[in-house]
């Protein structure tokens, strides 16, 4: 019998179908939640009308609420959750570090520098600041931080060794953090501090179709890209020497995947801020269910991350009436106990 026997294949097929059903169901529920009540039937009617099923008496308001406000936000949550979780899985295996997360290479702190420059110093054009300039500045900041980290980590060799890369990431993150604090304290006016804090904690609020489509595209590109490397990632399980003896070009693979994860993470940070813990925790949650082979682990993590973020975002906008709970706080609320449990399990083992 082949290693992936018929039973295993059917089982995984069912698991995949189940996961997609949960994801679709979560999205449907999320579309019905908001500060204005839209009954499920009307939500479906809006979607059906947009899918070309006739007029169905959909009002302009219903269409605005469901199709123009909620759907881009839900799709954004799917994309961001999928990207962060998949990046976490890739980086944890690439660095052989259980605590690796998508912000390892300083992209969130770098994006923070860009965002603060716009929010506090007003770099950029007034009026557009919130629309296009902020994501662009955050993305540019993330790229600059990434470049700095790679420069420091690869100085004298270019092998991008994991512990050195992690150190470089920490160093650059602290530098960016220092800049951010100084700018906010020295130049912050009005509610700048609150806006910076809110941005730092991440939020999917305010996503419109344009941004959602960019995020979805990033998620698709990332998944296809990472899946092409799934087998080589498996080879990192026993370390660098083992991977190289299996014929994996270790240095090239590290560069491609580290830069790749950083780019897509930077895209999510640009639109949604740094939403923590998804990338760290989801792969750990998924591995016991589907195993450690990346061909399965990566898509499974992506779906689980998407579901987690759709629910976290739904909770974020409905837990407290008239208030958005920062989504980063909610993912931390879920993530910290999981992390503690993981540590306890590790100690016990």
């Amino acid at each position: 019998m082949s290693p992936w026997g018929a039973r295993g294949r059917t089982g995984r097929g069912l698991l995949a179908l189940g996961a997609l059903a949960v994801l679709l169901g979560s999205c449907a529920v999320a579309l019905g939640v908001g500060s204005v009540d839209v009954p499920v039937a009307r939500v479906l009617a809006v979607v059906a009308r947009r899918a070309g099923a006739g007029d169905l008496d959909v009002t302009l308001l219903e269409d605005q609420l469901v199709w123009q406000l909620r759907l881009p936000r839900v799709l954004g949550a799917v994309a961001v959750g999928a990207v962060l979780a998949a990046c976490g899985a890739v980086l944890q295996s690439l660095t052989r570090n259980d605590l690796a997360d998508p912000f390892l290479l300083g992209v969130s702190s770098g994006a923070g520098v860009g965002a603060v420059s716009v929010i506090v110093l007003g770099v950029g054009v007034g009026g557009l600041a919130a629309g296009a300039v902020l994501p662009a500045a955050a993305f540019a900041g993330a790229l600059a931080a990434l470049a700095a980290v790679l420069l420091v980590a690869s100085a004298g060799g270019g092998a991008l060794r994991p512990h050195r890369t992690v150190l470089a990431g920490v160093a650059v993150a602290h530098l960016c953090g220092a800049y951010t604090s100084v700018v906010v304290i020295m130049h912050g006016q009005g509610d700048a501090a609150r806006r910076v804090l809110a941005w730092t904690l991440g939020s999917l609020a305010g996503l419109r179709w344009g941004s959602a489509l960019v995020l979805l595209a990033a998620a698709v590109v990332a998944l296809v890209w990472f899946l092409a490397y799934a087998e080589r990632l498996d080879a990192f399980a026993f370390g660098e020497t083992s991977a190289r003896s299996l014929g994996v070009p270790v240095t090239a693979t590290r560069w491609v995947l580290m830069v790749g994860t950083a780019l897509v993470t930077a895209t999510t940070v640009a639109y949604a801020g740094a939403i923590g813990f998804v990338g760290l925790v989801v792969p750990h949650l998924v591995r016991p269910l589907v195993g450690s082979r990346h061909r399965v682990l990566l898509p499974a993590s992506a779906v689980a991350g998407a579901v987690l973020l759709v629910w976290a975002d739904t909770a974020a906008r409905s837990l407290v009436e008239g208030q958005e709970v920062p989504i980063g706080a909610l993912t931390a609320l879920i993530g910290v106990p999981v992390l503690v449990w993981l540590m306890a399990r590790r100690v016990a083992a």
């Binding site: 009005g190 501090a193 609150r194 305010g206 906008r317």
Partner: protein, 337 residues
């Protein structure tokens, strides 16, 4: 006026937290509400007024008053007592034209908070501030410290660190603060004058009711979700004064996080764009008109905006001006509710 001091971003969050926590020490004597100490007519020194649970006793009418924060400065200017000022500090935007000359005659100690030394160098005998952050050790020092040094220290009741000391936003509460300050400065009659004048102006606005029948969104800022004027603060007072309906009147507090969904659902007749130095009304308007969803709002399509300066939307002496400005703009829009 709860939001601004807490959010005052120029101070590290840790310091703010420290102030909030140490303020527990100050709450031993909650004292009578500020209102009760207000209606003095006799200005026989020494006079005592209550500020956030502190008794502030003034032996002689102070002649070297330092005001911190724009609201405090404007109260003294509105009272016409600028010649008792030794210095001012920390404007959020600009002092209105009618007080400009008086303001310019007084030294500005610093653009934001002065350092402790800058403040001492002005040799104040009375310090009056809008926000609790002004009485941090790095700035003016605590109210007790100042009192011990023989310097009167008055904090606006709206800026009290303890929630129980803060009055609800009302024109009465504004006038009570004005009366306290006037009394401490030895000119209670100036407060009476201001109160009569503003009361009259307000009565006129109310009877004209320029906003009668109009649903208004008071948008303070924030794009991901709107920060809006809620049911219990300066914005609500202004909207009430012109007879308009606040679409977020149900939300508690002075300002609150609203949702664009509710805005779409309410589809307001007019949108008030708050103008602040750090977030100009023009930016807000540009955002509304560029957002694919919000540009569908009736008020955006028909360009029904009114601009109110932020400093005229907080509980202070300019609130009446804010209401007058809104009324004038609503008249200009020529809407029939």
């Amino acid at each position: 006026m709860i939001r601004r001091p807490v959010l005052r971003p120029t101070l590290p969050a840790a310091l703010l937290a420290a102030v909030v926590s140490t303020s527990g020490l100050l709450s031993g004597c909650t004292g009578a509400p500020a209102a009760e100490s207000a209606p003095h007519t006799s200005a026989e020194p020494p006079v005592t007024v209550t500020s956030c649970g502190h008794e502030v006793t003034v032996a002689e009418p102070p002649t070297d008053v330092v005001t911190l924060n724009q609201g405090a400065t404007e109260v003294v200017l509105a009272l016409g007592l600028a010649d008792q000022l030794a210095g001012t500090a920390y404007l959020d935007d600009a002092v209105p034209g009618k007080w400009r000359a008086a303001y310019d005659a007084v030294p500005v100690l610093s653009a934001e908070y002065p350092t402790n030394e800058q403040l001492l160098a002005a040799r104040p005998d009375f310090v009056y501030a809008s926000y609790a952050s002004a009485f941090e050790p790095a700035v003016a020092g605590t109210q007790e410290d100042l009192a011990a040094a023989g310097v009167g220290a008055y904090l606006s009741p709206f800026g009290c660190p303890e929630a129980e000391d803060r009055p609800g936003a009302s024109f009465e509460a504004v006038w009570d603060e004005v009366a306290d300050v006037a009394t401490a400065l030895g000119h209670p009659e100036a407060a009476e004058r201001l109160r009569d004048q503003q009361g009259e102006q307000l009565a006129d606005l109310r009877s004209a009711a320029a906003g009668e029948g109009l649903d208004v969104l008071w948008w303070d800022g924030g794009t991901k979700s709107p920060n809006v004027g809620a049911g219990d603060g300066g914005p609500q007072l202004v909207l009430d004064a012109v007879g308009a309906t606040n679409v977020f009147a149900d939300l508690p507090g002075s300002w609150a996080e609203g949702s664009w969904e509710d805005v779409l659902s309410a589809d307001p007749d007019v949108i008030v764009l708050v103008d602040a130095a750090w977030d100009p009304a023009a930016d807000k308007r540009a955002y509304l008109e560029s957002d694919p969803v919000l540009q569908g709002l009736t008020a955006v399509r028909e360009q029904r905006y009114a601009v109110v300066p932020f400093s005229a939307s907080t509980a202070g002496v300019r609130l009446v001006d804010g209401a007058a400005a809104l009324a004038a703009q609503l008249d200009e829009l020529g809407l029939d509710g």
